[in-house]
């Protein structure tokens, strides 16, 4: 190979070269001085088993959630909202944004994928029943498999109540669907594990309403 004597290494040369280079390539100039000691890029600390205190976590700037289930969302295949229940404070504007984001995330997931999406530091558990997606948003350290059962619990109770429930039932009798939900969850927590009890309680209240009409 062609041999050439190495250039005399004076301090002047690199500096002159650098300043010219920096002028032409300003983006390189930032934070790129060779004499500065190597910057330590802090590696992410491994996650320790999370403490059971949910209140302390600030997941990506969001306020700490108040409930196991932060909200319940029922959306159709076309992204139409059939039911929403919020157990954590979200403004009207935030709610619209959340619905739009989640619809985009969930409706595009293939059928063979798992029933959990990670979103903004939370987890959203969802399951599709016919034309409806039932979604429940939980914290990152909650039991997703249990929430799947809660969703199924809700669906079975709706089914029993409406008699083979379909989307139209939930559209035209949405307020009744809410009454059912209110017998299953309060403050984002499960209230009753017996489907029979829930049905009985709803029926009793419906009778009260019927009786009042006379």
């Amino acid at each position: 190979h062609p041999t050439r004597s190495r250039p005399p290494s004076t301090d002047a040369d690199p500096r002159r070269w650098h300043s010219r280079l920096s002028a032409i390539l300003p983006s390189l100039a930032t934070g790129c001085h060779p004499v500065r000691p190597r910057r330590q890029i802090r590696a992410a600390t491994p996650t320790r088993p999370r403490s059971s205190s949910r209140a302390s976590a600030d997941l990506r700037g969001r306020r700490p959630s108040l409930a196991m289930i932060n909200f319940v969302l029922l959306i159709s295949r076309q992204g139409k909202v059939r039911l929403t229940k919020w157990y954590s404070p979200y403004t009207q504007k935030e709610r619209t944004k959340v619905i739009r984001e989640l619809s985009g995330l969930i409706l595009t997931r293939g059928p063979k994928l798992c029933n959990f999406v990670e979103w903004r530091g939370y987890k959203v558990v969802y399951r599709r029943y016919a034309s409806l997606y039932f979604c429940m948003c939980i914290d990152a350290d909650d039991n997703e498999l249990e929430v799947l059962e809660i969703i199924h619990h809700f669906v079975e109770i709706l089914d029993r109540y409406f008699g083979s429930v379909c989307e139209l039932d939930l559209i035209f009798n949405f307020h009744k669907a809410y009454y059912v939900l209110d017998e299953i969850l309060i403050s984002g927590e499960l209230q009753e594990s017996s489907k029979k009890n829930v049905a009985r309680l709803i029926a009793a209240q419906d009778s009260l309403v019927e009786a009042a009409k006379e």
Partner: protein
């Protein structure tokens, strides 16, 4: 046929609408909205309905209050503003009949949220209803309070709710327990007020009450140290009994899910045991046996069983468990990891992350399976697996692991490339004592996905090269080759251009070659051409005279 029906319906509706009518029925409004073909049409329907509702509200119309509230809720669900209806909720709640209260309370929790001042006005009605003789009305109030109360309301009404915990009706009791959860979340100071009742309620038989009370206990432990200690002393044996009874219970149709009696109760108790046993050897010892029983006995062919096992493993790993119990837990993990069900594998990866703190070696054994999960078709699984891989990296396995990840980088989806790039860069940086290996990995990543490499990462690379004179020749030659092969990644171009500009003479003269290198022939004009091409491609970011730079480069090389 569907559209003919609609036309007929519309016509009928138009006929029925007249300035003196009370407006449409709920179902007709819903039909009209669904029949709208454009957003503008829908808005028109909504506007018409809102106008009618507003008129009815200002006229203090009693007859259609119920229907109007229902309409308002539907309209609200579509995303339209419904503030004008908030006072109607209050009026309905203040009415004496159950039907009015029922829809009024529902409206309250749907149309308002805890931040609205209007909510405070309900406090009085709530107080009255919490003392109502009709248990269903009490239930409505508890439900509303539990879903929506503010801290102030929580303070005001806590005594009522406390009292209701002692009522006879289990339906009311369970609602009171859940309502108490919200109160304690809003005002943690009140936790001590509830701990006595909560502990004694664990003797209840009603499952609804039990799951609510167990959840309340968990919440109390989080809110107050004193409550935690109290419950540790007074509830552990009761909990063990509850779990044992439900686990041993014979078929109970009312609570059966997939052959297991009340999985929800199982899970809640397991969770409370975790809270109580965390950092407490005594408590942990008490629950050891029942945890072993649940871990070995629970069927894992259906989701309900797996949900219980999941919680059980979490609890074992969260408390001061015996090594035998930990082995049980890790075995369950292993089984989950090789389950074909995506949900179970996802959950297994989660569990493994927690298991890292408890038994790193056991988790390392599953390294190969975890690496496979990084390439899974499901993005949720890929993300979890990647996090886990990052935790698994150590001095012994870092090179093969990184190789796997970098190989996968080439073929992975674009939306995953960013995460993967960040993780690889993190790993490589952490183990960069072997500078040559670090450089090789960084050059590969820059070539493959340089656009996703963060600025501080490639800045650090440049700093390292500057401070490692023995590797500068190697760096400039490798980068030059990378640039020739594929100059599409901007970060690669930046680093390469800097390097060539800085050490151009090493490139041209094959200075300080390493053993592993083959000599390459690069002339000055080759180097300058490469720079010019790169600069032209990214000219928008690189203001300045290209010819000047190339002159400088020639000068530098010539010196």
């Amino acid at each position: 046929q569907d559209s003919v029906e609609r036309i007929v319906e519309d016509a009928a509706m138009d006929l029925s609408l007249n300035p003196f009518s009370s407006g449409t029925r709920l179902r007709d409004m819903i039909r009209a909205i669904r029949a709208s073909k454009t957003a503008a049409e829908e808005r028109a329907v909504v506007r018409r309905e809102c106008a009618a509702i507003r008129a009815a509200i200002s006229d203090n119309d009693q007859d259609y209050r119920h229907r109007n509230m229902a309409k308002l809720m539907f309209i609200h669900m579509l995303g339209y503003p419904t503030h004008f209806g908030q006072m109607e909720c209050l009026k309905l709640i203040a009415a004496s009949g159950f039907p009015e209260k029922r829809i009024g309370y529902l409206g309250l929790t749907l149309l308002l949220d805890e931040r609205q001042e209007v909510l405070m006005l309900v406090t009085n009605s709530l107080k009255q209803d919490l003392n109502h003789s009709n248990q269903f009305i009490v239930g409505l109030a508890l439900c509303a309070l539990g879903n929506i109360c503010s801290a102030e309301m929580a303070r005001d009404l806590a005594p009522e709710v406390e009292r209701l915990l002692q009522t006879r009706d289990p339906n009311t009791k369970k609602k009171a327990a859940l309502c108490s959860i919200r109160i304690v979340r809003k005002v943690p100071d009140l936790a001590e007020n509830f701990m006595g009742s909560a502990a004694s309620l664990l003797k209840e038989k009603h499952h609804g009450v039990l799951i609510s009370v167990v959840q309340l206990c968990t919440e109390l432990c989080k809110a107050s140290r004193e409550a935690l200690e109290y419950l540790r002393k007074h509830s552990v044996e009761g909990l063990v009994r509850i779990l044992r009874d439900v686990s041993n219970s014979s078929y109970a149709p009312e609570y059966d899910i997939a052959g297991i009696t009340d999985p929800f109760l199982h899970i809640r108790v397991l969770r409370l045991m975790r809270t109580l046993g965390q950092g407490d050897a005594d408590c942990s010892e008490h629950v050891n046996d029942i945890l072993a029983q649940v871990a070995t006995k629970t069927e894992s062919n259906k989701n309900a069983g797996n949900a219980i096992l999941y919680e059980c493993v979490e609890t074992i790993m969260g408390i001061e468990a015996t090594s035998g119990l930990r082995v049980l837990a890790i075995n369950i993990l292993g089984r989950f990891l090789s389950n074909r069900d995506n949900n179970i594998r996802y959950v297994a990866l989660n569990m493994l992350m927690k298991a890292m703190a408890v038994d790193t070696l056991a988790v390392q054994r599953h390294r190969v399976t975890i690496l496979e999960c990084v390439k899974d078709a499901d993005v949720s699984i890929r993300k979890r697996a990647l996090e886990l891989v990052y935790l698994l990296v150590n001095d012994t396995n870092v090179k093969p692991l990184t190789k796997e990840l970098v190989d996968y980088l080439e073929v992975s989806d674009d939306d995953f490339k960013e995460d993967l790039t960040a993780k690889i860069c993190s790993i490589v940086e952490k183990f960069s004592q072997d500078k040559l290996w670090y450089l090789d990995q960084m050059f590969k990543v820059l070539t493959l996905t340089g656009n996703f490499v963060k600025d501080d990462v490639w800045h650090a690379l440049i700093v390292l090269i500057s401070n490692a004179p023995e590797l500068q020749g190697y760096s400039v030659r490798s980068l030059y080759k990378a640039l020739q092969a594929s100059g599409t990644q901007e970060s690669l171009v930046r680093v390469a251009v800097w390097c060539i500009g800085e050490y151009g003479e090493m490139l041209v003269n094959n200075i300080s070659m390493l053993d592993v290198e083959e000599p390459i022939t690069v002339t000055e004009s080759d180097a300058v051409d490469a720079l010019e091409l790169a600069l032209k491609r990214y000219s928008v970011d690189f203001p300045g005279d290209v010819t000047k730079l190339s002159e400088d480069t020639s000068n530098c090389c010539a010196e």
